[in-house]
């Protein structure tokens, strides 16, 4: 009965195009935000930060980035892992070359570097579409990982070939390196995820977002209407890579602390992010978060269930985990091919009419 549009009068166009048109939604959103910012940091521990919250947030940012490109602009990319690597190595080079530069700037700048690289690898999209573009971005994936492994300059000639994050602080609290408190890790990722989701929402509600969606739905009509396809596609590649780059930088600096390109940013990661976007819902910001949470948390849940509750041997549990996750993904896609975001929409629609659906 709470969930009603009735009685909510919108008298201006900005009112009518708000993010949360139903006030119940709005208050729920503020409440969730308050819990995430105030309550969670107080109760968080190492396990929750490292196994659940930080990976969900980091992957959400990556999924958000790919969703802008694939979900909103309709350009398929399999180069997400490679672009995350650019973010990570860019961040590492910036941190080591400018030790006094604040880590926040390093992360944002590494996003900007990735945006530049994304534009270059987005150029083929002007001539090729669909599966062929996917193959072209696959080339980016392999090339970038190869690049970071082959030139020792990128990993500062370290003997292991790994990059290891130096310790950096924000407002006096360490956010990278071994002495980082779990709440600091969590909060910096949350801040980036929130800011980037806000940015994505703004970009997709105005004329930039409409030019992307126009290209996605009917590129010829879009061009005839006045959308510059070159500009729209490269913008989408740039913004998407910016997000993915920041995800890569956080993945390396805050989440893992030390990475090696082919292990951390291989083709698997590209597919993983693509799964998140498809399962979450193409062209939905909420879907990016939902998809990332689904893919990251499902194995964690299963592990807790199989090893913790049913006390299976670890090796059997690990293998059956893959089988169950795979089966669940297939089942889920058959039941709801439009993703979690669509499921949420249907649920809201039901709720709006409940308890008198006629």
């Amino acid at each position: 009965m709470l969930y009603r549009e009735a009685g909510e009068f919108r008298t201006s166009y900005p009112d009518d195009s708000q993010t949360f048109p139903i006030s119940f939604d709005k208050y729920r959103y503020y409440a969730i935000l308050a819990v995430l910012v105030v309550v969670v940091p107080l109760v968080i521990n190492d396990y929750w930060a490292n196994a659940v919250l930080v990976p969900v947030l980091v992957w959400s940012i990556a999924a958000l980035g790919l969703n802008i490109l694939t979900g909103y602009c309709g350009q398929i990319s399999l180069g997400t892992g490679g672009f995350m690597a650019v973010g990570a190595y860019g961040c590492y080079k910036l941190m080591t070359a400018f030790p006094d530069l604040n880590i926040i700037f390093c992360i944002v700048l590494s996003g900007a570097i990735t945006a530049g690289v994304g534009i270059i690898f987005g150029l083929p999209s002007l001539r090729i579409k669909g599966f062929y573009l996917a193959v072209a971005t696959l080339a980016a994936q392999f090339f970038l990982v190869w690049l970071f492994n082959s030139f020792p300059w990128f990993y500062n000639y370290s003997a292991s070939g790994q990059i290891t994050v130096p310790e950096r602080t924000v407002l006096g609290f360490p956010v990278t390196g071994p002495y980082t408190e779990p709440w600091a890790k969590y909060l910096i990722c949350l801040a980036f995820a929130f800011a980037l989701a806000w940015l994505a929402r703004n970009l997709t509600r105005g004329s930039v977002g409409r030019s992307w969606m126009a290209i996605r739905d009917m590129d010829i009509a879009a061009e005839i209407i006045g959308v510059n396809p070159l500009k729209a596609k490269l913008q989408a590649f740039a913004v998407s890579s910016f997000f993915v780059g920041i995800a890569g930088a956080l993945f390396f600096s805050v989440y893992l602390g030390a990475v090696e390109a082919s292990e951390a940013f291989g083709i698997n990661q590209s597919f993983l992010v693509l799964f998140m976007v498809i399962i979450g819902g193409l062209g939905s910001i909420f879907g990016s978060f939902a998809g990332a949470a689904f893919i990251v948390l499902l194995p964690v849940l299963l592990k807790n269930l199989l090893v913790g509750k049913l006390s299976w041997p670890t090796d059997i549990a690990t293998n059956s985990e893959f089988i169950i996750v795979g089966a669940l993904i297939i089942f889920f896609l058959i039941v709801e091919p439009h993703g979690l975001a669509h499921l949420a929409r249907l649920f809201k629609e039901k709720l709006r009419l409940w308890p008198f659906p006629h």
């Binding site: 703004n202 509600r205 969606m213 061009e223 959308v227």
Partner: protein, 270 residues
């Protein structure tokens, strides 16, 4: 009403200067000659029809005008100046909008978003302003929303404002597509078979919209249509094409009497 209305309307655009002139347009696809040396003009404020049997080159002509095809020979003069080689999105910025024979709407976007996308060339707020949704971006969005709502009112599609257009019936989709083209506030509106596949009632509605657009907004309209009754009723002047050539050009009354046109449509005894 046909003849009377036709002759009344025909007096309107008479003395106006041409908005667009096509001179000696020739378009080839490999060895196929799609348009061969066709010249005609479209005057400011008139409704200009292009008719002809299937494969006559009408749609190709519209594609040439909207910059989608580039003719091998000939010039296009827009407002007295030769239009250089242009990509379609630059042509759109000149104030030329169009609809398509097979509806080309953005199917997953709402009616409102489709119409707002039509105003793409008029929206100026920068990328950064939109990213932060600062004053200028939000103000611009609202100002354009107001214009979009005017078009929604004009076409009577308020109820489907927030419905994804892919789910709408055919007739409404055609109407939304007209709305999207109108949203650009074009100087020249190109309609490729706006009434294809419609029943009589829908055709009457669409004809009324086209006449209203011409009257109220003063938009110059060039249209392709197969329904001769409609064409004779609403257009000021008609170009007839057959096999890529122009075989007739004039007011509806003249076209009706033109022997070449009658031959093209009814066939010639061999």
């Amino acid at each position: 009403m046909g003849d009377v209305a036709g002759s009344e309307r025909a007096s309107m655009g008479e003395s106006k200067p041409p908005l667009m002139e096509l001179r000696g347009i020739t378009l080839r696809f490999g060895g196929v000659l799609a348009i061969s040396d066709v010249s005609f003009d479209i005057r400011e404020g008139e409704i200009r029809a292009i008719i002809g049997p299937n494969g006559a080159g009408k749609s190709s002509m519209l594609n040439v005008i909207s910059g989608f095809y580039h003719p091998q020979e000939g010039n296009i003069l827009f407002r007295g100046e030769v239009r250089p080689f242009m990509r379609p999105h630059r042509v759109a910025a000149l104030g030329i909008a169009r609809t398509f024979q097979n509806i080309a709407l953005f199917k997953r976007m709402t009616t409102l978003d489709n119409i707002m996308t039509g105003r793409m060339t008029l929206m100026k707020s920068s990328f950064a302003a939109q990213a932060l949704w600062w004053g200028s971006a939000e103000r611009e969005e609202s100002a354009h929303r107001e214009k979009a709502e005017e078009i929604i009112d004009f076409l009577g599609i308020q109820a489907i404002r927030k419905v994804p257009v892919g789910t709408l019936p055919y007739g409404l989709q055609k109407r939304v597509e007209l709305g999207r083209a109108l949203a650009a506030e074009p100087r020249l509106l190109l309609l490729d078979e706006p009434m294809a596949g419609m029943n009589v009632e829908e055709k009457e509605d669409m004809s009324r919209f086209i006449l209203d657009v011409n009257d109220e907004f003063g938009t110059t309209i060039a249209l392709i249509e197969h329904d001769m009754g409609v064409v004779m009723d609403i257009s000021d002047r008609i170009v007839v094409m057959d096999y890529g050539k122009k075989i007739g050009d004039g007011k509806p009354g003249e076209i009706r009497k033109n022997q070449d046109v009658i031959d093209a449509y009814l066939g010639v005894p061999h």
